[in-house]
Amino acid sequence: MNFTDSIRNSILVIIETGIILGSLGVVSLSNIIYSAFLLGFVFICIALLYLTLNADFLAAAQILIYVGAVNVLIVFAVMLINKPKEINTLEKWNISNNISLLLCTSLFVSLSFTILNTNWSNLYSIQHSVNILDQMPSNIRLIGNNLLTTFLIPFELLSILLLVALIGAITIARRAEFIEIETGDSESLKSKEESVERKK
Protein backbone atom coordinates (compact mmCIF):
# COMPACT_ATOMS: atom_id res chain seq x y z
CA MET A 1 0.00 0.00 0.00
CA ASN A 2 2.77 2.38 0.96
CA PHE A 3 4.74 1.41 -2.09
CA THR A 4 1.94 2.23 -4.49
CA ASP A 5 1.30 5.40 -2.58
CA SER A 6 4.89 6.52 -2.95
CA ILE A 7 4.85 5.70 -6.66
CA ARG A 8 1.61 7.61 -7.05
CA ASN A 9 3.02 10.58 -5.20
CA SER A 10 6.15 10.66 -7.32
CA ILE A 11 4.07 10.49 -10.51
CA LEU A 12 1.94 13.32 -9.17
CA VAL A 13 5.01 15.42 -8.43
CA ILE A 14 6.36 14.88 -11.95
CA ILE A 15 3.03 15.86 -13.49
CA GLU A 16 2.75 18.93 -11.29
CA THR A 17 6.22 20.18 -12.11
CA GLY A 18 5.36 19.71 -15.76
CA ILE A 19 2.22 21.79 -15.38
CA ILE A 20 3.93 24.52 -13.35
CA LEU A 21 6.95 24.95 -15.62
CA GLY A 22 4.87 24.58 -18.78
CA SER A 23 2.33 27.22 -17.82
CA LEU A 24 5.11 29.56 -16.77
CA GLY A 25 6.64 29.07 -20.19
CA VAL A 26 3.32 29.67 -21.94
CA VAL A 27 3.05 33.08 -20.32
CA SER A 28 6.66 34.20 -20.36
CA LEU A 29 8.32 32.87 -23.52
CA SER A 30 8.93 35.52 -26.13
CA ASN A 31 8.45 33.35 -29.19
CA ILE A 32 4.80 32.48 -29.45
CA ILE A 33 5.16 29.21 -31.31
CA TYR A 34 7.12 27.75 -28.39
CA SER A 35 4.40 28.80 -26.02
CA ALA A 36 1.79 27.20 -28.29
CA PHE A 37 3.61 23.89 -28.18
CA LEU A 38 4.14 24.22 -24.43
CA LEU A 39 0.42 24.72 -24.11
CA GLY A 40 -0.08 21.31 -25.70
CA PHE A 41 2.39 19.87 -23.20
CA VAL A 42 0.45 21.44 -20.33
CA PHE A 43 -2.78 19.97 -21.71
CA ILE A 44 -1.23 16.50 -21.82
CA CYS A 45 0.00 16.89 -18.24
CA ILE A 46 -3.49 17.94 -17.16
CA ALA A 47 -4.91 14.84 -18.86
CA LEU A 48 -2.46 12.70 -16.86
CA LEU A 49 -3.56 14.53 -13.72
CA TYR A 50 -7.16 13.60 -14.55
CA LEU A 51 -6.03 9.98 -14.84
CA THR A 52 -4.60 10.11 -11.32
CA LEU A 53 -7.89 11.63 -10.14
CA ASN A 54 -9.89 8.60 -11.43
CA ALA A 55 -11.43 10.54 -14.30
CA ASP A 56 -10.39 8.40 -17.23
CA PHE A 57 -13.09 9.48 -19.66
CA LEU A 58 -12.29 13.10 -19.01
CA ALA A 59 -8.60 12.44 -19.62
CA ALA A 60 -9.43 10.93 -23.00
CA ALA A 61 -11.74 13.84 -23.81
CA GLN A 62 -9.04 16.29 -22.75
CA ILE A 63 -6.48 14.75 -25.07
CA LEU A 64 -8.95 14.46 -27.94
CA ILE A 65 -10.46 17.94 -27.69
CA TYR A 66 -7.73 20.12 -26.24
CA VAL A 67 -4.61 18.58 -27.70
CA GLY A 68 -6.25 17.35 -30.86
CA ALA A 69 -8.50 20.26 -31.70
CA VAL A 70 -7.89 23.44 -29.71
CA ASN A 71 -4.11 23.26 -29.66
CA VAL A 72 -3.91 22.40 -33.33
CA LEU A 73 -6.20 25.36 -34.03
CA ILE A 74 -3.98 27.66 -31.97
CA VAL A 75 -0.82 26.46 -33.70
CA PHE A 76 -2.57 26.97 -37.03
CA ALA A 77 -3.52 30.52 -36.09
CA VAL A 78 -0.01 31.26 -34.86
CA MET A 79 1.43 30.07 -38.14
CA LEU A 80 -1.05 32.15 -40.11
CA ILE A 81 -0.49 35.27 -38.02
CA ASN A 82 3.25 35.33 -37.70
CA LYS A 83 5.16 38.53 -37.41
CA PRO A 84 8.93 38.40 -37.33
CA LYS A 85 9.23 41.66 -35.37
CA GLU A 86 7.23 40.44 -32.45
CA ILE A 87 10.00 40.09 -29.91
CA ASN A 88 10.55 43.81 -29.75
CA THR A 89 7.04 44.62 -28.61
CA LEU A 90 6.87 41.84 -26.10
CA GLU A 91 10.00 42.76 -24.23
CA LYS A 92 8.47 45.98 -22.92
CA TRP A 93 8.28 45.71 -19.18
CA ASN A 94 6.29 48.59 -17.80
CA ILE A 95 4.69 49.37 -14.51
CA SER A 96 1.31 47.86 -15.35
CA ASN A 97 2.99 44.47 -15.64
CA ASN A 98 4.43 44.94 -12.19
CA ILE A 99 1.06 45.89 -10.78
CA SER A 100 -0.68 42.91 -12.33
CA LEU A 101 2.09 40.58 -11.19
CA LEU A 102 1.63 41.85 -7.65
CA LEU A 103 -2.13 41.46 -7.93
CA CYS A 104 -1.93 37.90 -9.22
CA THR A 105 0.60 36.85 -6.61
CA SER A 106 -1.55 38.29 -3.86
CA LEU A 107 -4.56 36.47 -5.33
CA PHE A 108 -2.61 33.22 -5.38
CA VAL A 109 -1.35 33.70 -1.84
CA SER A 110 -4.81 34.47 -0.50
CA LEU A 111 -6.33 31.51 -2.38
CA SER A 112 -3.75 29.07 -1.08
CA PHE A 113 -4.07 30.52 2.41
CA THR A 114 -7.81 29.88 2.27
CA ILE A 115 -7.32 26.38 0.92
CA LEU A 116 -4.84 25.49 3.64
CA ASN A 117 -6.94 27.00 6.40
CA THR A 118 -10.24 25.42 5.46
CA ASN A 119 -11.08 22.30 7.36
CA TRP A 120 -11.60 19.85 4.52
CA SER A 121 -11.42 16.81 6.78
CA ASN A 122 -14.98 17.42 7.98
CA LEU A 123 -16.31 17.26 4.47
CA TYR A 124 -14.14 14.30 3.74
CA SER A 125 -15.34 12.31 6.74
CA ILE A 126 -18.96 12.96 5.77
CA GLN A 127 -18.25 11.72 2.32
CA HIS A 128 -16.36 8.70 3.58
CA SER A 129 -19.17 7.54 5.81
CA VAL A 130 -21.54 7.65 2.88
CA ASN A 131 -19.13 6.01 0.54
CA ILE A 132 -18.62 2.73 2.36
CA LEU A 133 -19.92 0.46 -0.36
CA ASP A 134 -17.29 1.07 -2.92
CA GLN A 135 -18.87 -0.98 -5.68
CA MET A 136 -19.35 1.86 -8.07
CA PRO A 137 -20.29 1.36 -11.68
CA SER A 138 -17.73 2.49 -14.17
CA ASN A 139 -16.99 6.12 -14.76
CA ILE A 140 -18.26 6.29 -18.31
CA ARG A 141 -21.54 4.63 -17.43
CA LEU A 142 -22.14 7.17 -14.66
CA ILE A 143 -21.37 10.07 -16.96
CA GLY A 144 -23.69 8.71 -19.63
CA ASN A 145 -26.46 8.23 -17.11
CA ASN A 146 -26.06 11.78 -15.86
CA LEU A 147 -25.94 13.21 -19.38
CA LEU A 148 -29.11 11.51 -20.47
CA THR A 149 -31.17 11.96 -17.33
CA THR A 150 -30.31 14.97 -15.19
CA PHE A 151 -28.40 17.00 -17.74
CA LEU A 152 -30.45 16.16 -20.81
CA ILE A 153 -31.52 19.71 -21.66
CA PRO A 154 -28.04 21.25 -21.21
CA PHE A 155 -26.66 18.42 -23.32
CA GLU A 156 -29.01 19.20 -26.19
CA LEU A 157 -28.40 22.93 -25.80
CA LEU A 158 -24.70 22.22 -25.94
CA SER A 159 -25.08 20.48 -29.27
CA ILE A 160 -26.95 23.50 -30.62
CA LEU A 161 -24.23 25.78 -29.26
CA LEU A 162 -21.52 23.76 -30.97
CA LEU A 163 -23.41 23.92 -34.26
CA VAL A 164 -23.87 27.68 -33.92
CA ALA A 165 -20.20 28.15 -33.05
CA LEU A 166 -19.15 26.10 -36.07
CA ILE A 167 -21.30 28.06 -38.51
CA GLY A 168 -20.45 31.36 -36.84
CA ALA A 169 -16.71 30.73 -37.02
CA ILE A 170 -16.97 29.87 -40.70
CA THR A 171 -19.02 32.96 -41.54
CA ILE A 172 -16.86 35.32 -39.50
CA ALA A 173 -13.66 34.07 -41.03
CA ARG A 174 -15.12 34.14 -44.51
CA ARG A 175 -16.85 37.48 -44.72
CA ALA A 176 -13.85 39.76 -45.15
CA GLU A 177 -12.67 37.85 -48.16
CA PHE A 178 -16.12 38.10 -49.69
CA ILE A 179 -16.22 41.87 -49.33
CA GLU A 180 -12.82 42.29 -50.87
CA ILE A 181 -13.79 40.19 -53.86
CA GLU A 182 -17.15 41.84 -54.39
CA THR A 183 -16.21 45.47 -53.98
CA GLY A 184 -13.16 45.29 -56.16
CA ASP A 185 -9.80 46.89 -55.85
CA SER A 186 -10.67 50.57 -55.39
CA GLU A 187 -12.59 49.97 -52.18
CA SER A 188 -9.90 47.88 -50.61
CA LEU A 189 -7.31 50.45 -51.63
CA LYS A 190 -9.38 53.12 -49.92
CA SER A 191 -9.63 51.12 -46.76
CA LYS A 192 -5.90 50.48 -46.83
CA GLU A 193 -5.24 54.19 -47.19
CA GLU A 194 -7.56 54.89 -44.31
CA SER A 195 -5.76 52.43 -42.12
CA VAL A 196 -2.43 53.97 -43.04
CA GLU A 197 -3.76 57.40 -42.15
CA ARG A 198 -5.03 56.09 -38.87
CA LYS A 199 -1.63 54.72 -38.05
CA LYS A 200 -0.08 58.09 -38.82
Binding site: I19, V26, V42, L53, Y66, I81, S100, S121, Y124, R175
Partner: protein, 112 residues
Amino acid sequence: MSKILEKSNKYIMFEHVLILSSYLFCIGFYGLITSRNMVRALMCLELIFNAININFVTFSNFLDSQEIKGEVFAIFIIAIAAAEAAIGLSIILVLYRNGRSNQINEFNLLKW
Protein backbone atom coordinates in the same frame (compact mmCIF):
# COMPACT_ATOMS: atom_id res chain seq x y z
CA MET B 1 -4.54 3.64 12.08
CA SER B 2 -3.71 2.83 8.51
CA LYS B 3 -7.11 4.13 7.50
CA ILE B 4 -6.41 7.45 9.19
CA LEU B 5 -3.04 7.60 7.50
CA GLU B 6 -4.59 6.91 4.12
CA LYS B 7 -7.23 9.50 4.80
CA SER B 8 -4.69 12.15 5.66
CA ASN B 9 -2.70 11.25 2.57
CA LYS B 10 -5.73 11.71 0.37
CA TYR B 11 -6.51 14.93 2.16
CA ILE B 12 -3.02 16.26 1.49
CA MET B 13 -3.33 15.33 -2.16
CA PHE B 14 -6.66 17.12 -2.33
CA GLU B 15 -5.14 20.36 -1.04
CA HIS B 16 -2.18 19.88 -3.32
CA VAL B 17 -4.30 19.68 -6.43
CA LEU B 18 -6.41 22.63 -5.30
CA ILE B 19 -3.32 24.78 -4.87
CA LEU B 20 -2.05 23.64 -8.25
CA SER B 21 -5.29 24.68 -9.89
CA SER B 22 -5.24 28.06 -8.15
CA TYR B 23 -1.66 28.55 -9.38
CA LEU B 24 -2.76 27.73 -12.92
CA PHE B 25 -5.67 30.14 -12.60
CA CYS B 26 -3.47 32.97 -11.35
CA ILE B 27 -0.84 32.53 -14.01
CA GLY B 28 -3.51 32.37 -16.70
CA PHE B 29 -5.06 35.54 -15.32
CA TYR B 30 -1.71 37.30 -15.30
CA GLY B 31 -1.05 36.29 -18.89
CA LEU B 32 -4.53 37.36 -19.94
CA ILE B 33 -4.00 40.81 -18.44
CA THR B 34 -0.48 41.48 -19.59
CA SER B 35 -0.12 39.83 -22.98
CA ARG B 36 -0.17 42.07 -26.02
CA ASN B 37 -0.57 39.25 -28.48
CA MET B 38 -4.14 38.16 -29.03
CA VAL B 39 -3.34 34.51 -29.61
CA ARG B 40 -1.41 34.42 -26.36
CA ALA B 41 -4.36 35.96 -24.55
CA LEU B 42 -6.52 33.18 -25.94
CA MET B 43 -4.02 30.58 -24.78
CA CYS B 44 -4.10 32.04 -21.28
CA LEU B 45 -7.89 31.86 -21.38
CA GLU B 46 -7.56 28.15 -22.11
CA LEU B 47 -5.27 27.85 -19.10
CA ILE B 48 -7.95 29.43 -16.92
CA PHE B 49 -10.55 27.02 -18.26
CA ASN B 50 -8.25 24.14 -17.46
CA ALA B 51 -7.70 25.36 -13.92
CA ILE B 52 -11.43 25.45 -13.35
CA ASN B 53 -11.79 22.00 -14.84
CA ILE B 54 -9.15 20.64 -12.49
CA ASN B 55 -11.06 22.15 -9.59
CA PHE B 56 -14.32 20.54 -10.71
CA VAL B 57 -12.74 17.13 -11.20
CA THR B 58 -10.97 17.24 -7.87
CA PHE B 59 -14.09 18.11 -5.95
CA SER B 60 -16.17 15.53 -7.77
CA ASN B 61 -13.54 12.89 -7.13
CA PHE B 62 -13.13 13.59 -3.44
CA LEU B 63 -16.58 14.65 -2.34
CA ASP B 64 -19.02 13.17 -4.82
CA SER B 65 -17.60 9.94 -6.16
CA GLN B 66 -21.03 8.29 -6.10
CA GLU B 67 -22.50 10.23 -8.99
CA ILE B 68 -19.79 12.31 -10.55
CA LYS B 69 -21.60 15.45 -11.53
CA GLY B 70 -18.46 17.55 -11.46
CA GLU B 71 -17.05 15.58 -14.33
CA VAL B 72 -20.19 16.16 -16.37
CA PHE B 73 -19.77 19.86 -15.72
CA ALA B 74 -16.16 19.58 -16.79
CA ILE B 75 -17.27 17.99 -20.06
CA PHE B 76 -19.65 20.89 -20.63
CA ILE B 77 -16.86 23.36 -19.93
CA ILE B 78 -14.53 21.58 -22.36
CA ALA B 79 -17.13 21.74 -25.12
CA ILE B 80 -17.82 25.43 -24.49
CA ALA B 81 -14.09 26.15 -24.41
CA ALA B 82 -13.69 24.46 -27.77
CA ALA B 83 -16.47 26.59 -29.25
CA GLU B 84 -14.94 29.71 -27.69
CA ALA B 85 -11.52 28.92 -29.12
CA ALA B 86 -12.95 28.46 -32.61
CA ILE B 87 -14.89 31.74 -32.50
CA GLY B 88 -12.02 33.66 -30.90
CA LEU B 89 -9.45 32.46 -33.41
CA SER B 90 -11.71 33.30 -36.33
CA ILE B 91 -12.25 36.81 -34.92
CA ILE B 92 -8.49 37.21 -34.50
CA LEU B 93 -7.99 36.05 -38.08
CA VAL B 94 -10.45 38.65 -39.38
CA LEU B 95 -8.90 41.42 -37.29
CA TYR B 96 -5.47 40.49 -38.56
CA ARG B 97 -6.72 40.47 -42.14
CA ASN B 98 -8.25 43.94 -41.79
CA GLY B 99 -5.60 45.64 -39.71
CA ARG B 100 -2.44 43.65 -40.38
CA SER B 101 -1.65 43.42 -36.71
CA ASN B 102 -2.25 41.03 -33.88
CA GLN B 103 -1.52 43.30 -30.96
CA ILE B 104 -4.40 43.97 -28.63
CA ASN B 105 -3.68 47.65 -27.97
CA GLU B 106 -3.75 48.56 -31.65
CA PHE B 107 -7.42 47.77 -32.00
CA ASN B 108 -9.82 50.52 -31.10
CA LEU B 109 -12.61 49.61 -33.48
CA LEU B 110 -15.31 49.71 -30.84
CA LYS B 111 -15.45 53.33 -29.87
CA TRP B 112 -18.31 53.64 -27.45
